[in-house]
């Protein structure tokens, strides 16, 4: 008979228990922050936290990324700054009477492996200035839609990828 967490991946992996409990606690706290501590809400909160833990283990298996706090701090600061740059850039272009846009598609070669880390990077990319990922391209390429193809898009993305890789503990030369 498999334990309750054995159902998650079809094996009784004792290494899964600790990350599963840590995530369930974290998601439970998130529920408490969002919904408040009303006793009536606790039962649905527990169900929601367990369901979210199950989904999280499916899509981001433990060990896929290992966040490094020091890199994460620098990364977060840069992310906030880039969010401001991105918003100001769009606002400037939208409100300029001449509508200064040079939209187009650019192929960017990523060093990140396909899977969770690449998905996280494309999610981040859609919040960065001037880029929206629109799908895969041949090889390890990502198709990127840019508001202004005259900007040095691929160089900027390479710099972002280096910071991101460092924050999630992925070394480019591993692959």
């Amino acid at each position: 008979m498999k334990g309750p967490f054995g159902l998650l991946r079809g094996t009784s992996d004792p290494g899964l228990l600790r990350p599963a409990i840590a995530r369930a606690v974290g998601l439970g706290v998130l529920w408490l922050v969002l919904a408040g501590g009303n006793p009536v809400d606790l039962a649905p909160g527990a169900v929601a936290a367990l369901a979210a833990t199950w989904v999280s283990l499916q899509f981001l298996p433990p060990g896929a990324v290992s966040v490094r706090p020091a890199s994460l701090a620098g990364f977060t600061f840069r992310f906030l700054r880039q969010s401001v740059v991105a918003g100001v850039d769009v606002a400037r272009r939208a409100l300029d009477p001449r509508l200064p846009l040079h939209p187009g598609l650019v192929v960017y070669q990523t060093g990140l492996p396909p899977g969770p880390s690449q998905h996280m990077f494309t999610t981040l990319m859609s919040l960065l200035p001037g880029t929206v990922p629109t799908g895969p391209a041949p090889g390890s390429g990502l198709l990127i839609h840019c508001l202004d193809v005259e900007q040095p898009i691929t160089a900027q993305l390479a710099a972002e990828e280096a910071l991101f890789s460092s924050a999630i503990g992925w070394k480019q030369d591993n692959g």
Binding site: S83, G87, V90, L99, P103, V132, H145, L147
Partner: protein
């Protein structure tokens, strides 16, 4: 002190509303679906962030502040994820917007 906090709130929330307006102008003026996606994600991300920052000056207690920040982060995550799906469909020649 109260006045200073209120002034910061008014400034940050007004700035946030400005970016929502700019994003909406972009949605109307930008020429194609993919460009419009840019206008909505980037401007609304910053707009919502500024409104959250403004409201943080009015919160009582840590829990209310954490809740505001959590709402912003969840909206960011949802926006960034859905943006890619819409962009992928638009690029694949989906319905013209």
């Amino acid at each position: 002190m109260r006045f200073a906090l209120d002034a910061l709130t008014i400034f940050a929330v007004a700035a946030g509303a400005f970016f929502f307006l700019a994003g909406t102008v972009g949605l109307l003026r930008f020429p194609d679906a993919l460009s419009r996606v840019h206008a909505l994600t980037k401007a609304d991300n910053l707009g919502l962030g500024l409104i959250v920052v403004g409201l943080l000056f009015q919160t009582e207690g840590l829990l209310a502040g954490l809740k505001l920040v959590a709402v912003w982060l969840l909206a960011l995550l949802a926006g960034a994820a859905v943006t890619q799906l819409i962009a992928r469909i638009a690029q694949a020649g989906g319905p013209r917007v």
